[in-house]
Symmetry: C2
Subunit: 139 residues, 2 copies
DNA sequence: TATTAATCCTATCGATTTAATAGGGATTAC
DNA sequence: GTAATCCCTATTAAATCGATAGGATTAATA
């Protein structure tokens, strides 16, 4: 299940990408437009900033802006920052690998085999989707 | 993240499918072989039986067996029983659909669009994989 | 029929994670 | 110097997860 954090984060990024003003987008503005609790959104945008996806301007008239063009922001990157591993089990994760306690041999594990396939098919979607795709207004 | 329940369930099903004896497989035997807490496994097999995937024989010399050939047991079915919805958000779930509180219009929601793609690519894996595939011994 | 061994069922518990809130510090425009 | 905004840490309430406990029911068999 996708966490609210990730859902809110994706909505916020889309909002910023679709925006046309030159000034940075403020948390309050985004929260109101997307029906996201403001304080929660604050912490999410902070995470995205620390990950280098967003930049920020502090103080009055401050806010958040994209560090790259929407077409250069891949879903793989966003999802890993917000949701963590893309794989459903750590033993097939490319970026967050961990061995299973119980499994004596990964190559014989039926779950492992299946989850590699799921991971790869999900990765293919995220690698081929950018924030620009999410931000297109037509459905 | 895949729950332990699902992971254990898949391992147990694989164990039963690979087994060659005619007698039903007992919980204790499976638990020991696959390093699964026995009481936890009991409840998982019960779920699979209620869903019609496993059959059981009660009393002494009882145990569990597959109701269908492994090649007729699709991962879509198993995953829905054990893990629940395949979709990452209820608003794109085929079998467990629910509208989002916050979203005024699904067709305009960037998350919705992305998650439909993820759902479809995951479904493609599960629809094309049966318990027989999981149970092949070669990696 | 009594014993044993298995599934079946309900309830509960502890730990973790999630979603959200609280409260204030630091910074900048005006 | 005041108001507006991002920055940061801590806390909380609720939900979920993984596991355990304790026994009821059923069937084989001695």
């Amino acid at each position: 299940m996708l966490s609210k954090k990730t859902k809110y984060g994706l909505k916020a990024l889309t909002y910023i990408a679709r925006r046309e003003e030159e000034t940075p987008a403020q948390v309050g503005e985004i929260a109101k437009s997307e029906s996201i609790p403001q304080k929660f959104l604050e912490s999410i945008l902070l995470t995205l900033r620390k990950a280098g996806i967003l930049g920020s301007k502090k103080g009055k008239h401050g806010g958040y802006y994209l560090r790259k063009a929407p077409s250069d922001i891949l879903m793989t990157e966003v999802m890993r920052v917000l949701e963590g591993p893309i794989a459903m089990v750590p033993c097939v994760s490319l970026n967050f690998y961990e061995k299973c306690d119980d499994c004596p041999d990964e190559n014989l594990c039926s779950v492992h085999k299946l989850m590699i396939q799921v991971r790869d098919s999900t990765l293919q979607v995220f690698r081929n989707t950018t924030l620009a795709d999410l931000s297109e207004k037509n459905s």
